[in-house]
Symmetry: C2
Subunit: 581 residues, 2 copies
Amino acid sequence: MKASQFFISTLKEAPADAEVVSHKLMMRAGMIKRLGAGIYNYMPMGLRVIRKVEAIIREEMNRAGAVELLMPVVQPAELWQETGRFQAYGPELMRVKDRHERDFVIQPTSEEVITDIARQELRSYKQLPKNFFHIQTKFRDERRPRFGVMRGREFTMKDAYSFDRDKEGALKSYQVMYDAYCRIFDRFGLQYRAVAADTGAIGGDASHEFQVIADTGEDALVYCPTSDYAANIELAEALSLLPQRAAPTQPMAKTPTPGKSTCADVAALLGLPLQQTVKSLVLATDEKNEAGDIVKSTVWLLLVRGDHDLNEVKAGKVAGLKAGWRFATVAEIEEHFGCKPGYLGPIKTIKPVQVIADRTVANMADFVCGANEADFHITGVNWGRDLPEPDVVADIRNVVVGDPSPDGKGSLAIQRGIEVGHVFYLGTKYSKAMSANYLDETGKPQPMEMGCYGIGVTRILGAAIEQNHDERGIIWPAAIAPFATVLCPIGYDRSAEVKAAADQLHDELLAAGVDVLLDDRGERPGAMFADWELVGVPLRVVISDRALKEGLLEVQGRRDAEASKVPVAEVVAQVKARLSV
Amino acid sequence: MKASQFFISTLKEAPADAEVVSHKLMMRAGMIKRLGAGIYNYMPMGLRVIRKVEAIIREEMNRAGAVELLMPVVQPAELWQETGRFQAYGPELMRVKDRHERDFVIQPTSEEVITDIARQELRSYKQLPKNFFHIQTKFRDERRPRFGVMRGREFTMKDAYSFDRDKEGALKSYQVMYDAYCRIFDRFGLQYRAVAADTGAIGGDASHEFQVIADTGEDALVYCPTSDYAANIELAEALSLLPQRAAPTQPMAKTPTPGKSTCADVAALLGLPLQQTVKSLVLATDEKNEAGDIVKSTVWLLLVRGDHDLNEVKAGKVAGLKAGWRFATVAEIEEHFGCKPGYLGPIKTIKPVQVIADRTVANMADFVCGANEADFHITGVNWGRDLPEPDVVADIRNVVVGDPSPDGKGSLAIQRGIEVGHVFYLGTKYSKAMSANYLDETGKPQPMEMGCYGIGVTRILGAAIEQNHDERGIIWPAAIAPFATVLCPIGYDRSAEVKAAADQLHDELLAAGVDVLLDDRGERPGAMFADWELVGVPLRVVISDRALKEGLLEVQGRRDAEASKVPVAEVVAQVKARLSV
């Protein structure tokens, strides 16, 4: 393609509302154009990337035996009412009424519609397994859309849904998708990690997030460099750092710690390691009657080591907290502990509380905790001697770098990542709610076992840029670059030789299957090079009179420090080799 | 592809709500599945057709120099308020509020958004002309969605928008699109006609509808078989059928016509040709004051020959009716004519009315019209002698078959058609409303001249089927068939020879670029053939032990009366030749 037939619109400065680098660079490179909060026009340069991302996804989904269909953007509310999600989804679900005042949603995802299709179309065990996918526009009315395409409201997603006879089959379908996702992300040319993720109410261990590695990512990915253990921070298991509890060596003693309400301050004041302190967090649970009124509240004291952080997802899995918890109010805290937050501890509470100790805390000896008296802590505290054993011992903290890997094969490391894909075993949640049954060999109806598998198509663009950029702009992997190669002739409109060489190379590269753009705009070299470095085209070929006289062209990869001179006749082969076309 | 990797779901009977043949066949062939009124899931078989239609459109749009982008489905109301369409569009425009109670629309079309992009991106005459297009989901909240994808609510449309410096440039861009559309519809393999269409308030002659010819079409297409004149019925010009008015030969006479209120009945009663009668239609226009109250109404009598029909679009172009008209009420009619409808005429009205005569009526002599007295008509009426000349003479009727072509090159014929594309010169309607200006050579801002160009992607499917089907099912043109060729092995699971031959032919055809499906489901021949005739695959190759023994396979086109036996080695070449691959 020639630039004159395309639309190129680059900016020197990013708009002020662009907060992250991918957003800034996509705006500057003319890939997206803001239409409203979290709603973007995909400009020609950006759309080319989307189409390449979609094509790779589509090919690998087909290869994995999934069948493409297309479900509507606007979906009747009735189906969403069958699963209860019309009410439960919250304000992110864009609801709309038609001219007859009937309720619809603008789809954020399509479990209901695909399950409706499946219950009509998949009647017999002979038709299973089946996996349907579509690539469609989604809408989520985010409270605070930001970061460009990373957290937009309207976006493109590939979502797939598998239907199986039983859990065993569903887990096979899950594995097929997991493998397909690995191929997809491999082909994107992105560094990524598939990490185990929480399965919530479904249970089981079949949920993986596909995370693009980037320092700017919102998610923490835990992995073991010496094994294949990988999980997101919500799920990654924290073992006890103390294999067993040591015997007490200190007497319990109340110590003044005026104004020192954090573990770090207390440790510093007392000259103790932070690892000797225990952090207190107070949660509450409510029992409600049938009318929804709270009839009883229970207060829970959660203890983690001073250098550790509470993991709220893990807390929610502790018996007694599974039905939902909240942080306790200051009034509840003062009522139970007789003390304001900052000096709380498990000893001598006014009213009884349920004590949940993290695995490490449960094995600590001679530890420091709040005295339940303002400006005082207690040192030399020991389980059994100074207070009863905790009511519950559980993994309730985030892992930290250096923790032992749960598989026993090394120490944990942590990276930042951007979630761009998710494979999830759904079980019978939707099929039971919507009576999506098949008939087994005996003619008996059985609920189909489902899985769902998403890839955020437009989000891939942002994640790829967060991972691959420098001070000059984007650095696209070749497979998803808007153009794989750009030809930059110097003096295209002045030199017949340059024009002829550029046109010929353009045609030869096209014929060789290289997605090439010839910049025939007649820009000055500096501006032209800056544009393509900003846009992030992986390979640039400069055609100039000077080099042509020696029979050479200059080929430079986007990450190369300098260009290499290549004989004209070898350029096509070298470009193909470098792009692996 | 093999059928076992795909999803095939055919029905013996169409659902009761499917009214037209294309809707019935798409449902039966498993191409679409109803989700709600006018909202369909595109099942795998239907999506394949959509993708082929889209690919052809995309290729030809690119070839014509248009640049693809993607504008959002959910669009902020602000832009639609700038052009006044947020209010003016009526209930077909699906309006929605986000969580912050801000107004949005679900796009039915994208003039506002593209003009917003253009006013930001196209600043200089040097950037013009430019043509942007996208292929995107649209929503129109039709009052009565029906006919499947022909009048759905959610549908896919390709819409393109051109921007030019001046009208001359815009008309050039228009012609480029017109030509591209011809290539697109040629490639679809559909019989179509581009007909001139009304331009409404814009004026000018640059509006063409691309109509797929089908007896079941809603639109009447007027054309001259011996010239290139073609227009839709709203626009097609009706010349006077009487070159000049004959001299009166009869006296005017009131004649009893009891109960005969139609021209046909009157002509039959009086033994006169219908062409001797004149039909009266009464319209009214209202003048309003600034508060919107009607301050004055005017009554208009429109006269067309008894065998002709009023053309409401043409009536709306008559001076005095341009600002909008309505049919008169019975009360207004009785007040002005002293008579109920059915016996009205231009002679002796009680109150004065404005008389608009069709061109033919204006040249009639000795004609018959109502007497403005119930159960009476007048014969032998002559302009000038019995009543004043009409206030206005204008083309206000639909043309009929056999009318002289306006270009003087023959007689008009009429076909039925389904509108699937439209090219339209917009002028500066949107650019002026939204201040979309470019700077000319002198630095002066000028409004861009625009055109818009739509193709109903999903509607193409319905139109293609209305045109191409028989009692057994759909007959797709090869270019847009879900599969171009189907291989039907008899006993794929029983005969190793059949399986080997089918597998090999499948691979060879794929390698030759033929979009082939191998039906490996193991269905009985009758059911298998019926499925593919219903789905409408253009070419079928039957592989059977019996024919293989003679070294032959049976090749049959969907329209062929019978199969021809082809030597195995020649099948690939013959399939390619028949599909023009």
